[in-house]
Amino acid sequence: MTNAADFDRSVCPTPRQDHERVLLGHGSGGRLSADLVGRVFLPEFGNEVLSALEDAATLTIDPRGEATRDQANRIAFTTDSFVVKPLFFPGGDIGKLAVHGTVNDLAVSGAQPLYLSAAFILEEGFQIDPLRRIVRSMRQACAAAGVALVTGDTKVVDRGKGDQIFITTTGIGVHRVDRDLSIHNARPGDAVIVSGTIGDHGITIMSTREGIEFETALESDTAPLNGLVEAMLEACPTIRAMRDPTRGGVSSTLNELAVASHVGIVLDEASLPVKPAVHSACEMLGLDPLYVANEGKLIAVVPGDRAEPLVEVMRRHPLGRDAAVIGRVVSEHPAMVVLRNAIGGQRVVSLLAGEQLPRIC
């Protein structure tokens, strides 16, 4: 049998250059999301504040233009929408996420979160009982985070035109004058710290998905980070930047940092805190924990010599028990995140291309 294939005539698929519709991947927090923001939103809305692409906008409330910088009233302002299936999951629910998500965006900008708004888009037919449970959970989350929900809105859409409930929260916090955190601030020699195990939330949600489901004792890590942030800033006022690695996971956050600060980041794979069950689920589904969402973790960039003392402080806080230095900022390969593994190989940790999908091969 001669099976020589004719390789000279081999051809390739036509490129899929542009999607004509919004794909789920546009909401994944990875490259497609960045494309959508860059191609559709920024050209219309772009301004000095928005284009910095921080988790929260920093605004100066100074109508008469009289305040000097050290007495200006600087506020942090942010908004976030929440869609999650299932609405109730181990460790939390959509209401908790909606409060924590916005509180955390304010907190990691270095601000003290104060006030939230909440807007609910409800689907006709959604039951009052789960709605009540969600609202109660939000009240508890607000109390625990020390914020007040001060304004809100409700809309109802036709049955089939929404998925039970979507929540948008907006938050305001105040900055202390002596703090200036920004993802543009990372410098070579800095250390990169994560506050705990990564991927817990995303894997917990994935374990409930039809067609993929598996049994696990994992819980979502959703939590308000403002207490931890306060303790960190108290101990180490020179923290340069903080971010909460939600959608798109640690990889997205670090890539954004590397691009914004025009630095390289080198991660040490062995130092990444990953729960065994998250590791196993990722192996089974062919996923990488660096791309999986977190809802109660933060990444901090600090001057290298401040890293270890700060990690000690973090470990004394309940939400920072597994804090660890996971990498360092370098001047080489700017805008690129590189992971070193124990065997000696190195690979680029790029932005998530689209949606994270389990693979077979």
Binding site: F214, A277, S280, E283, C361
Partner: protein
Amino acid sequence: MCLGIPGKIVQTYREHDVLMGKVDFGGIFKLVCLSLTPEAEVGRYVVVHVGFALQVIDETEANKVFEFLQYMDDLGELDDGGPDEEMEIQP
């Protein structure tokens, strides 16, 4: 190609007359079809691909590479030129 993950069988049962099992992959549990590995028993490890156990892991074979590496360690230096046959680890 063909992601295959080792897991330990913790329970077996039949569903639609097909041998199934609950398999522990380091703290997460998944229901897996065992009909391709009828010899699989609770406590054994299997390699699982798309929800099917492909093979039962042979624990003796699994250790051979480490025995080989230990043997090389015992030789001290690789380049001290022991006869090649001694390094054979073929089945």
